[in-house]
């Protein structure tokens, strides 16, 4: 994804057991904070409906 | 220039679950714009594209009869994306219908003739349209004997059961209803596959007798030899086809069998016509 031009930080992988609730919360907090800091991603929005 | 892709807006007026497996529902539509009903003037055997906004369109045979006014009816089997969504819709919701499309059963040819209708399963929709239309007091005298052979897997899988019972009681139409197997101890009609019942009940062929046959491929496959045996000429066997369609007006290129478009030149063909085309249906 990063190779395609999606900024680092927008995609995150984690390995969390169903018992690791605190880790889950931490990861979600981390990821949302990183994504918010990056701001909105317009790249994957569709082009405005063009009429030819 | 009239835009043939523009559906008429309609409101769902009534939804009837037809069969015990709940996979077949009849939708009754009312046109939103008063003038559209007149523009949607059809003959039995034609179909329309049901347009579910945001999902797409599906070609469905018209189940109501031209003699029934104020609404149009379609019976839809739940199969793909659009039909599944349609099954989840409720009375009052807005969608569109586009048509009428295709040719119809050859009513000009059938006038003054004996008509044998052979149907199976949920392919009975345009046949219902035909029967209601022929039985209309203004039309009945245009036809000689009317025989109907209609089969389904079980009694609960028959479409339009109330109407079937009404027709049974009439003496101007001979009904031969059958099921593959009856799970109902009170079943008082035939048991057996459509081809076998056809062999027993269908009138012998003559120049004035036409068979309209519409049903699943396996039924058609085994009924056709029976009709051959009874002496029906291939130009006296009338069939209605279905194929994947999009435009419904002979332009998008997918539904053709040979040079004929099922959507525009069909869906009704005689077996004699089909014999001359590749069997891509």
């Amino acid at each position: 994804m990063e190779h395609m031009g999606v900024e680092p930080g927008r995609l995150s992988f984690s390995w969390i057991s169903s018992a690791e609730s605190t880790k889950f919360v931490d990861v979600v907090k981390d990821v949302t904070a990183t994504v918010k800091a990056l701001g909105p991603n317009n790249n994957f929005k569709k082009a405005a409906d063009k009429v030819t | 220039m009239q835009n043939p892709y523009m559906p008429y807006p309609v409101r769902i007026d009534e939804i009837i679950t037809e069969t015990e497996d709940r996979n077949l529902k009849t939708f009754k539509f009312v046109f939103l714009n008063p003038g559209d009903e007149d523009k949607f003037s059809y003959r039995a055997g034609q179909f329309a594209e049901l347009s579910v906004t945001g999902k797409g369109e599906i070609p469905i045979g018209i189940a109501s009869s031209p003699t029934e006014k104020g609404f149009v009816k379609f019976t839809v089997n739940k199969v793909g994306l659009v039909s599944s969504y349609l099954h989840s819709m409720k009375v009052g919701e807005i969608m569109g219908i586009r048509g009428p499309l295709g040719n119809s059963y050859p009513w000009d040819t059938l006038e003054g003739k004996n008509v044998v209708i052979i149907g199976g399963g949920f392919a009975f929709t345009t046949l219902r349209s035909s029967i209601v239309s022929m039985l209309d007091p203004a039309n009945r005298k245009k036809f000689k004997d009317i025989n109907v052979i209609y089969g389904a897997r079980t009694p609960g899988m028959l479409l339009y059961r109330d109407e079937l019972a009404t027709w049974e009681r009439r003496d101007d139409i001979k009904m031969h209803i059958t099921v593959d197997a009856a799970n109902d101890p009170d079943w008082k009609y035939n048991v057996g596959f459509v081809p076998a019942i056809t062999e027993k009940k269908a009138p012998k062929a003559d120049a004035d007798t036409y068979a309209i046959i519409c049903g699943p491929p396996v039924m058609i496959k085994f009924t056709q030899p029976v009709l051959d045996k009874l002496g029906y000429g291939h130009d006296h066997i009338i069939m209605s086809l279905e194929n994947r369609m999009k435009c419904g007006i002979g332009m998008c290129g997918r539904c053709n069998i040979g040079k004929e478009f099922v959507c525009k030149d069909g869906p009704v063909f005689t077996l004699a016509q089909l014999n001359a085309t590749p069997r891509e249906y």
Binding site: K46, D49, V51, T52 | M1, Q2, N3, P4, Y5, M6, P7, P9, L32, S51, T53, G54, K55, G56, E57, I58, V79, G80, S83, E93, I94, M95, G96, E242, N243, R244, K246, C247, I249, G250, M251, C252, G253, R254, C255, N256, G258, K259, K264, A276, T277, P278, R279, E280, Y281
Partner: protein
């Protein structure tokens, strides 16, 4: 009709003038090949090409075209009702179209403009277009237009035919639409008397360069079902990978799909090019596919172009001989070979598989 002489020095100026009253499309060179594009103001068409890689059909018939818009928001009084999308049918002109490609529009018109139904998108767009053809002085070895109902100087479907006469252009006005455009361009110097003769001799020269020919004379005499069952289809279709290259590049392929696409509470219904090469094209909701194998699909493409169309319209094959499918097929399936096999097919003589 009149022939104008265009001094090569007046070329750019004329193009500019056309652009003030027409949306102008012309061939433009990309990285490796030419393609038709809407020309910017001041941009000149690049006529140094044999033919474009992709056909110019998209100028009239875009690959993806929005027909309707709708709202799914029940607060909107017109929710779930289709509304016509805004369209621009102001005059446009396509400059540099090869005669074979121009002829293709006449073939496609038979599909979209019928007595029963008319496709308003195709017809309006077609009628808004002025076709300025560009005669082929140097056809390719894969061109077989002369035996496919067209030719390097063929005028069918054109409003103007441009001929490169070396030191100048000759522009022959074929229709009133064409004359109007020549006026708009300010190209109004009538060519000297010898111009028609010069064009005729260039035409003869070009036609003589067409080295590949197909025979189509027997196609309408063949029985559809016999051709359909001919044994050569296995051999013809073996290499095919069922990509849509041939159909997407073909000027005469018109098949399309209709799709709804939602975005939030609104959406559009559009027409997109489709291809008989794709299994999805014909598959039923039940999963049954009447053209379930690549043999079916390859056969459909050739039967449609070379038999069904011939029978349906009794006006020749649905092919103009541009050769694009031959040049771009990744596995070298050649319509000329298939056409000859079909045209010469004799079921009696053919007990063994044809190779």
């Amino acid at each position: 009709m009149k022939v104008m002489k265009i001094d090569k020095n007046d070329w750019a100026g004329g193009i500019g003038k056309i652009q003030s009253s027409y949306r102008l499309y012309g061939p433009v060179k990309g990285d490796a090949f030419h393609d038709f594009k809407a020309l910017e103001k001041g941009e000149l068409p690049d006529l140094n090409f044999l033919n474009t890689r992709i056909s110019p059909k998209s100028v009239v018939y875009p690959q993806s075209e929005i027909m309707f818009e709708y709202s799914l928001d029940e607060k909107n009084p017109d929710h779930h009702i289709m509304k016509d999308a805004a369209k621009d049918y102001s005059p446009k002109a396509i400059l540099g179209i090869r005669p074979c490609d121009a002829a293709s529009f006449l073939l496609v018109k038979r599909n979209f403009d019928t007595t029963e139904y008319k496709d308003p998108y195709w017809i309006r767009s077609y009628e808004a277009t002025t076709f300025i053809g560009y005669a082929c002085n140097n056809p390719c070895s894969t061109c077989f237009c002369t035996t496919a109902g067209s030719g390097p100087f063929n005028e069918d479907g054109l409003d103007i035919l441009l001929t490169d006469a070396g030191d100048c252009w000759y522009a022959k006005a074929i229709t009133e639409k064409g004359e109007k455009l020549l006026n708009a361009a300010g190209w109004n110097t009538i060519a000297a008397g010898g111009s028609l003769k010069k064009i005729a001799s260039l035409k003869k020269e070009a036609e003589a360069k067409i080295s590949s020919l197909v025979s189509t004379d027997q196609l309408n005499n063949k029985k559809t079902t016999e051709l359909y069952e001919a044994p050569f289809w296995e051999d013809v279709s073996f290499a095919c990978i069922n990509c849509g290259t041939c159909t997407f590049l073909c000027p005469t392929c018109w098949c399309f799909d209709i799709q709804d696409e939602n975005s939030g509470c609104s959406g559009v219904r559009m027409k997109n090019w489709d291809s008989c090469m794709f299994p999805l094209f014909t598959i039923h909701g039940t999963g049954h596919n009447p053209r379930g194998t690549k043999l079916h699909r390859v056969r459909q493409r050739f039967m449609h172009k070379l038999k069904y169309y011939v029978d349906k319209y009794e006006n020749g094959i649905q092919c103009v001989g541009c050769g694009r499918c031959i040049r771009s097929c990744p596995v070298n399936i050649d319509i000329r070979r298939v056409c000859d096999m079909m045209n010469s097919y004799d079921p009696e003589a053919c007990a063994c598989p044809v190779k």
